[in-house]
Structures are given as structure tokens and as C-alpha cells.
Amino acid sequence: MVGNAEKRLVRKLKARAPGAFESLIENHQSSVFNLLYRMLSNREEAEDLAQEVFITVFKQIESFRGDSSLATWIYRIASNHCINRKKYLARRRHYDSKSFSDLEDRVQPAQGKSPISGQVPRPDEMAEGFQMERLVQEAISGLDEEHRLVLVLRDIQNLSYEEIEKIVDVPAGTVKSRLHRARMALKEKLAQHLR
């Protein structure tokens, strides 16, 4: 399950070796932040929660047995934190999706639909792209919690079914049926914008 390099890193983390924790954050911060952002649709909440995820990793690294990869274990912690934060925010009635409006300032142009060198999109095409991205994110936000999590893990984080089973802790059949329902629901929400 766990490669030699990862085993070494885990040993160092357990020994609190200098630099090990920094290395772990460096390697996983982007995937954790993206998962939380797509789940919460709020940049500040995602950033704060990502920090809490790494604090939990620091506190609980002793309990990591290597049954799954470190990334899968961290995703699992992030998913649990996410569910708890959503409940907390729902209780406080504080949650909203306001921060997606700053998408234009925050995208990382190196990935996703980034312009290929020499094919810079026109401003109107860019605006249309951002508008569509906003619609997709809003549609994702409207999904049920468990459907959204599976969809984000599979279709945005590009994890395998096996990894998702371990993160969500449900059988493969359940993962697949949740994913199918999530995609079909998203299709219905976006249909009018895609025709």
C-alpha cells in the first residue's frame, strides 16, 4: 500500500523529525484545499479547514498504520472534517456561497482549462468560461452531501473507486451508485446551459 519513500516520511513524522511535517504539507496542501473548496464553495472556510486537517494529521500520525496510502488517509480526515464543518455551519446558519464570485482572481492558470500557449482566449470567451465554471460549482453545491463528496473525489480529484471506498468507508457498489446519481443530477441542473 505504502511505498518506501512514504514509509520513510511516516517514520520521520512519527519521530517529529525536523522538516518532515513541512514536506507533508507541501505535498498535500493543494489536493486538500481543492477538495475542501469544492465541497464548501467558500475560500476562507476551505483555507481554515485545510489547516485543521493538517493539525489533525500531526496529532494522529501515530495511529496511521499504512493500510492505505498517506494521501487516502489524509483525504479521509479532510472528508470527516468537511462533514463536521458543514453541520456546524448549518447550525450557525452562517454558510453561504459568496466567495465563488472571486473565482477570476484566484484560478491557477497552470491546470484545468488553462489556455494553451499561443491560444489565449478572448475576454468574452474567458468570461463565458468563468460563467460556466460558476454554474458548475453552484450545481455541485446543490447536490446532497454524500453525492457531492463522491463526485468531487472521483471527477475533480481523479481518485480511483478503490481509494474512494476507503475514504468514504462504503462498498464499491454504493460508491458507483452515488456517483451515477450525482452525475445525473448535475446533468439535469446544467442541461439548459449545455444545449
Partner: protein, 138 residues
């Protein structure tokens, strides 16, 4: 194959998890059914939009922020000030020098007191003579 069955297979078809016979059956249905073909086209385009979503860079300073929180919550047990070996050596050396100086000063003090006591004529151990007692009285 009916419409419902065809649509149930969309996800497995997209993820290339259908057997060759199922693929053949679904594709022949899509070729013959305009309604399901349009549904599949919308599904496919939805998937393109999802997979094209941007990846965000993690906010800067994540490591420092996490370490600061851990330091605060652990009351400085973790990620506190780390002194280098040379700094630790300098501190220990300074303390040792101070101790030696203190010990030296104490020993010097004791020696001076002893010398003074030895020079004192009243306490030199000799009994004053009768003449010395008279001179002192006058």
C-alpha cells in the same frame, strides 16, 4: 434495451467499465434512439465541464499558519524556538564561566577574611603583659 436501462449505463460507459457486449448493445440503442442520444450528449458535455474545472493553488503560508496554531495549542511544546547546537554551547559556556567567576570571588572573600583575622592584634592569641595593660589604661 429500454431508455431507463440505457441511462443506467451512462456512468459505467463513460468510465469504460462496461463489457464489450454491453457497449455494443448501448451504442446500437443510442444510434437508434434520438431521445437517449441527446441525453448521452448532455451527460458527456456535463462530464467535460466537470473535468475542466480549474485547480486552485493552495493559499500561501499554509505551513507557517499550521505550525503557529500547533505551537499555540501545544503551549510551545511543538514548533517553539529551536536553538542551534552552537547557540546551546555558547549558553552553557557562559553559565559555566559565570559559575567559575562566582566561585573565585567567594574563595577570594574567604581568604581576605582569614588574613584580616590573623592580623588582628587582639586576637593573635598572646596574653597582654602588665605594662601593656597599664599603657592601655592611661
Amino acid at each position: 434495451m429500454d431508455h431507463d436501462r440505457a441511462r443506467e449505463l451512462f456512468t459505467a460507459y463513460h468510465d469504460e467499465e462496461l463489457s464489450s457486449s454491453e457497449v455494443e448493445e448501448l451504442e446500437s440503442h443510442l444510434a437508434a434512439c434520438k431521445e437517449c442520444s441527446e441525453e448521452w450528449d448532455t451527460y458527456r458535455r456535463t462530464m467535460e465541464e466537470i473535468s475542466g474545472l480549474h485547480r486552485f493553488a493552495a493559499p500561501g503560508g499554509m505551513t507557517e499558519a499550521v505550525e503557529q496554531k500547533i505551537k499555540r495549542r501545544s503551549k510551545g511544546r511543538f514548533f517553539g524556538e529551536q536553538r542551534s547546537f552552537s547557540t546551546q554551547f555558547a549558553i552553557v559556556s557562559f553559565i559555566l564561566i559565570l559559575l567559575f567567576m562566582l566561585a573565585y570571588l567567594l574563595m577570594t572573600e574567604v581568604t581576605e577574611i582569614t588574613v584580616l583575622e590573623e592580623d588582628d592584634p587582639i586576637t593573635d592569641g598572646k596574653t597582654p603583659t602588665a605594662q601593656e595593660r597599664d599603657a592601655g589604661a592611661r
